[in-house]
Symmetry: C2
Subunit: 210 residues, 2 copies
């Protein structure tokens, strides 16, 4: 989708122009766009770490990028003046700019962004699937559950595209999640008070360190 739009825009771009994008996955988008970039035009992939569970112009926020990180994924042979200009653009919006390799980007965000979304979607479906489930029970849910599943209200189409474009890294991350859940299940099945507590303590301490 992003690459398709880029291919429509690129032929109209003048030498010296810079093209960037804001997609959540970088390797495939960059690979799909790069061959179509005309001489003199510079393409640099980008991913501002900002947004809500809402999509579309009607949810625009003037300060969306303030104090947020924006990741750029320049190639090794990037035009350094173009990179400076794009960096300056994001800084003027209030963002902190970080350069990263496309593969490193996709693996890191599979872990800290895509996996939590996959898990939130799967959690809501697990509860809805439960035998005897009645939507009325959701009235009993407290703040924790609502915060937790807020991101499960995100756009299904956008997340379908992310899941498919970053499939290898997301599948790796889901594998870690499946093993983590299995470890917890075994500890509870085995009535292992110490193992259960240790599992929760590790998690609690890691989370507090953020």
């Amino acid at each position: 989708m992003i690459a398709e739009i880029a291919r429509q825009v690129l032929p109209a771009m003048s030498p010296g122009a810079i093209l960037s994008d804001v997609g959540s996955v970088k390797r495939q988008i960059v690979a799909d766009i790069a061959p179509h970039v005309p001489a003199g035009v510079c393409f640099i992939g980008g991913h501002p770490i900002a947004g809500t569970e809402h999509s579309g112009f009607e949810h625009a926020l003037a300060d969306l990028f303030e104090n947020r990180i924006c990741v750029l994924t320049p190639n090794a042979d990037v035009d350094s003046r173009a990179l400076d200009r794009l960096t300056s653009f994001w800084r003027q919006l209030g963002s902190r700019v970080i350069a990263m390799d496309v593969n490193a980007h996709d693996r890191i965000f599979a872990a800290i962004s895509h996996l939590p979304h996959m898990v939130a979607f799967a959690l809501v479906n697990a509860i809805v699937d439960m035998e005897g489930f009645d939507a009325g029970i959701l009235q009993y849910s407290a703040g924790g559950f609502r915060d937790f599943t807020r991101i499960a209200a995100s756009d299904p189409i956008m997340w379908r595209d992310i899941a498919m474009m970053n499939a290898p890294n997301i599948l790796e991350a889901i594998g870690y999640m499946e093993r983590s859940l299995a470890t917890l299940r075994s500890a509870i099945q085995g009535n292992g008070a110490d193992s259960i507590e240790e599992f929760f303590r590790t998690s609690s301490e890691a989370r507090r360190s953020i």
Copy 2:
């Protein structure tokens, strides 16, 4: 823990007194306390659906119970005047009181409260376990991940006790979660755009309906 304290308190209670608790699991707590309740004293299990990821007096909030649900789990032979008094107590704190069977309570809260906590703890551990994990990557996490894992900072001891006391229902719920994640993994592995979108759409719509 709660039952142990109750057994210490009960011998000092006068006829006409009411004992209740605020534990997150009800069947086992009620079963452990019931045999020790002296004649004339009424015990009614309770579970106010309120709280944060913080524990202890230092995190007390004056309006903690306002506009929250409080579940009570009276036995069939409960003294109706005692139930009225306890109901009135919670209403004066601003809560909406709902009576529920202990087993129904424990299964519902395994789904909408205990499972989300298990999943949050497991998610943080999954990310920490990832090969090549560097705590520095958590700086890139956006609001979604932080909201999502906020509850993973909850007290490990309290959650160990909940996991052990409500083990059968929590294991059932973890089973649903494992199957839900496996369904999603298969859809991504099979590159099934429609299946992936459908999975996310079901979840997104269920979540929005809360």
